[in-house]
Amino acid sequence: MTPRTVAELGASLRRGETSPAELAAASRGALESLAPLHPVLRYTDELTERQAARAARTLAEAPETAGPLCGIPFAYKDVLCVEGVETTAGSRILQGYVPPYTGTAVGRLLDAGAVPVAVTNCDEFAMGSSNENSAFGPVGNPWDPSRVPGGSSGGSAAVVAAGAVPFSLGTDTGGSIRQPASFCGVAGFKPTYGRVSRYGLIAFASSLDQIGPFARSVDDVARVFTAMAGHDPRDSTSSPTEVEPVDEQLERGVAGLRLGVPHEYMTEGLEPGVRTAVESALALLEKLGATLEEVSLPSTPAALSTYYIIAPAECSANLARMDGVRFGFHVDRPSLTDSYLETRGQGFGPEVKRRVMLGTYALSSGYYDAYYRKAQKVRTLIAEEFDRAFEKVDALVCPTSPIVAFPKGERSDPLSMYLCDVLTLPVNLAGLPGISVPCGLSEGLPVGLQVIGPRFQDARVLRVAHAYQGATAWHEAPPPPAPGAGSPTS
């Protein structure tokens, strides 16, 4: 049974065949049956009920004002603040924290009538590539529960892959939407930096973080993106430029487009199955009328170390506010210093501590020039290389991840985990839009095709991915029924 899309559910609602409350209840049921995979941290019951009622009113009283998301259930990552709903960023240190405000991205979806159902599991403070760094336990991949769903937005990818919700929200700092999308066989889109407001997103690395959607079809991804995108006066890094309408571009196909294949992305230790799947995808795009061209991004090997200076540096400051004084977890000790030390010592997990320490070191007096300043320079170089590539080609196509979903516990040393993101994190360093769409299987597990565009050419990226989906059925393939994984919504 093919899980239903936003478009299909919306049509059902308009025909009166179902109601927002019914859809939300069905999603909730499906999510509950996923419990063994542990993709959900909590349900938003009260808000779900309120939003479902609001959507129902809109559909009944002013259907002409109801957008495509009105009445559609969704789940969002545990780093997005929503008023009245506990938000913990997958961390013990924020346990019990209930934000008194709603962030812009989710707020815009609520305004569009979408109905939140659940908060999804993720790596602590979005730091990780396997969802094994969640303080509340790992998530299983719906394709094989013994394997990871990718990370850090693993829960959000898993619930869409399992068909429990038609779409979800994740965040992407170095690949945290695209890599789990790849591992779970769904579409996952990271918009251009500055296209979607970060207000209400619990920051990991402010200059890299972006919020984006997961869905089965690029069509649905585009709908959710359109509802969230655009300038927000509360986020000074959100772009004031008009959002290019996606609708007009989506159906234009790839005929005549020049697509670049970054040489460096095809040679770096790709698993054979991944290479085969991506090469067939490239061949298909060519068949659809695109011209393929090899391009070079020579600084790619420096991206990983650049990223692991800048992101930890920013997170070392961003996480300083978690001091146990005003919210979340607190360990009481007679002295203030001991309270800080114990609260943070017990509240943060090992990966978060590692990055806070790396970042603190990189910013320290005497090391700043050697690390942070140098990393910023390399970051500029990387962005310029992409700019030069985009002078020759309209978009880049390449694998999302060099590997498919790996078994839980396999990558216990941090470096091997960091290497999962070599093909995604340069895109964040350059602030570009990137999407992953399923393009085949390798040993029964999904492979992702990544499409990267120039800054603010989000619509073009979606157009290429949509054209690919128009000629393939990989995105319609649900994961094989796994024991306890439940059945998709019907």
């Binding site: 603040c81 405000y101 997103l201 000074s236 920013e314 919210f327 203030l336």
Partner: protein, 495 residues
């Protein structure tokens, strides 16, 4: 070789060493809202933590938005202090843990401040002093703490109030160009005056909206290298700054005399002890790990913006002093006193505009009005009488309707409650007795009643005349025109 002693006085030390002083001033900006959110910047008097929002509380997920007016006020200040305004500027994060700093970092400016390379000139004891201004930059204020106990480290408990957190704070860093505590004091007086004049700061040292830290070191006269500097904090008045610096000069001088080295450290001024005490040594100095604030794009101030701010710059104290002399014929001394507070200068100009002669306006403002203003903590603008009432009163004197002493009494009486001086004079019959016939009759009576005084005066005792004038004043309950009475008496007695 000079004899040195552990008990050298300030004068003795100043004869052997030259103090080198640089001041850092923090001024809260008089904007309506805070630096990065919409909360009110006027936080005083609000219940604890009520003047806050998710942004200034530093809750997870929030982002700062720059207050444009705060940028404009900082640029205005920088221009008033002759600074350059670079085209590019940015905000940085200054990282440190303290319970009054909700984000764990302060958004400040590190290597690309809003302005650079200014100066402030003034005179001390007739000597021209030009103090360089390194930079004027913009940041956010912290919250406030109250401890059950003296300081955080020893407190039994502490409470945090974040009402002040995020209030726009401007830092004015001065070059180490000051050579005495008097110069330091005068620099602060002048700087405060400018900030108040241009409307960016209320200049309140006691409440801490205008705060000063000092760096001070000593060196032998003629040396070009700087000595080890000590940072002094916690000075809440101009007087405290001067006393703390003098204390440090003596403390450091005595240590140097004994051949000891000065520890680079931060010391706090303790008013009650009249001494500075060590707070933090260099080994425990913070590494603030500054880096560019990724939540805020770099600032690009256009030439147009800077020129618009420059064009809108109000008259500065020095310009006003010169104008008061030029346009109103005030002496340099009077002009300086009248312009010390912008409000006084404004009152002066209003008095003159309403027809009061400049000299009379200056004298009243510097004399009786200044006294009443000080004693009642109410400047004339906010008094019941107001500037208009004061003008009416002074004009009654100048027009000869009442005499000076009646005017002083009336001023005191009407200053706070207010009232129409002319009406009071009329109702109570306080009008000056200046009718020639009436005065002649009174003078003759007094001469007749005081033969001894008359004899004294005729014998050459000039003061005796005052006794006779006093007699007339007494007879008229102070309402007689004293000058006319004196003239009449002279005429009569020399005739």
């Amino acid at each position: 070789m000079t004899t040195t002693s552990a008990v050298s006085t300030l004068e003795q030390i100043l004869a052997r060493y030259e103090p080198v002083i640089g001041l850092e001033v923090h001024g809260q900006l008089l904007t309506r809202s805070k630096m990065f959110c919409g909360c009110s910047a006027d936080y005083i008097g609000s219940p604890p933590n009520s003047n806050t929002c998710p942004v200034c509380l530093g809750l997870p997920g929030v982002l700062p938005v720059i207050n444009r007016v705060a940028v404009e006020y900082t640029v205005r200040t920088a221009l008033a202090l002759n600074c350059e305004i670079p085209e590019h500027s940015k905000f940085d994060r200054k990282n440190y843990f303290y319970p009054d700093l909700p984000k764990g970092y302060q958004i400040s400016q590190w290597d690309m401040p809003l302005s650079l390379n200014g100066h402030l000139s003034f005179t001390v004891d007739g000597e021209e002093v030009r103090c360089g201004i390194t930079r004027v930059h913009l940041e956010e204020d912290t919250g406030t703490l109250q401890h059950a106990g003296d300081i955080l480290q020893q407190a039994r408990s502490s409470v945090v109030d974040l009402n002040r957190a995020g209030v726009p704070l401007m830092e004015i860093v001065g070059e180490p160009d000051l050579r005495s505590s008097e110069q330091a004091r005068e620099y602060l007086v002048r700087l405060r005056q400018i900030l108040v004049y241009i409307g960016v700061n209320d200049g309140n040292l006691e409440q801490g909206s205008f705060r000063c830290d000092a760096n001070i070191s000593l060196r032998r006269p003629g040396e070009t290298e700087l000595g080890v500097k000590v940072e002094v904090k916690n000075m809440n008045s101009f007087r405290a700054v001067q006393r703390a610096l003098d204390f440090e000069i003596v403390r450091q001088g005595r240590l140097l005399d004994q051949g000891q080295t000065i520890a680079q450290e931060t010391r706090g001024w303790v008013e009650a002890k009249g001494a500075t005490i060590s707070q933090r040594s260099k080994e425990y100095a913070h590494d603030y790990r500054y880096f560019p604030e990724p939540d805020l794009p770099p600032l690009q101030l256009g030439v147009d913006f800077v020129e618009r701010v420059r064009a809108g710059l109000p008259e500065l104290p020095q310009q006003l002093i010169e104008r008061l002399q030029r346009d109103h014929g005030l002496s340099p001394y009077d002009a300086a006193i009248i312009s010390a507070e912008r409000e006084d200068a404004r009152a002066f100009e209003e008095l003159v505009a309403s027809g009061v002669p400049a000299k009379a306006a200056a004298n009243w403002l510097m004399g009786e009005v200044a006294r009443l203003s000080r004693e009642s903590h109410t400047p004339v603008q906010r008094s019941g009488l107001g500037v208009a009432g004061l003008a009416a009163l002074v004009k009654l004197v100048e027009g000869g309707s009442i005499n000076g002493s009646t005017a002083k009494e009336l001023l005191e009486e009407l200053y706070l409650p207010g009232g129409d001086p002319a009406a009071v004079v009329r109702d109570r019959g306080l009008g000056q007795v200046s009718d020639q016939g009436e005065l002649e009759r009174l003078v003759d009576a007094v001469i007749a009643e005081n033969p001894a005084a008359v004899a004294d005066f005729r014998g050459g005792k000039e003061q005796a005349l005052q006794r006779l004038v006093g007699g007339v004043m007494k007879a008229t309950r102070g309402r007689a025109d004293a000058r006319a009475v004196t003239g009449l008496l002279r005429d009569r007695l020399s005739g």
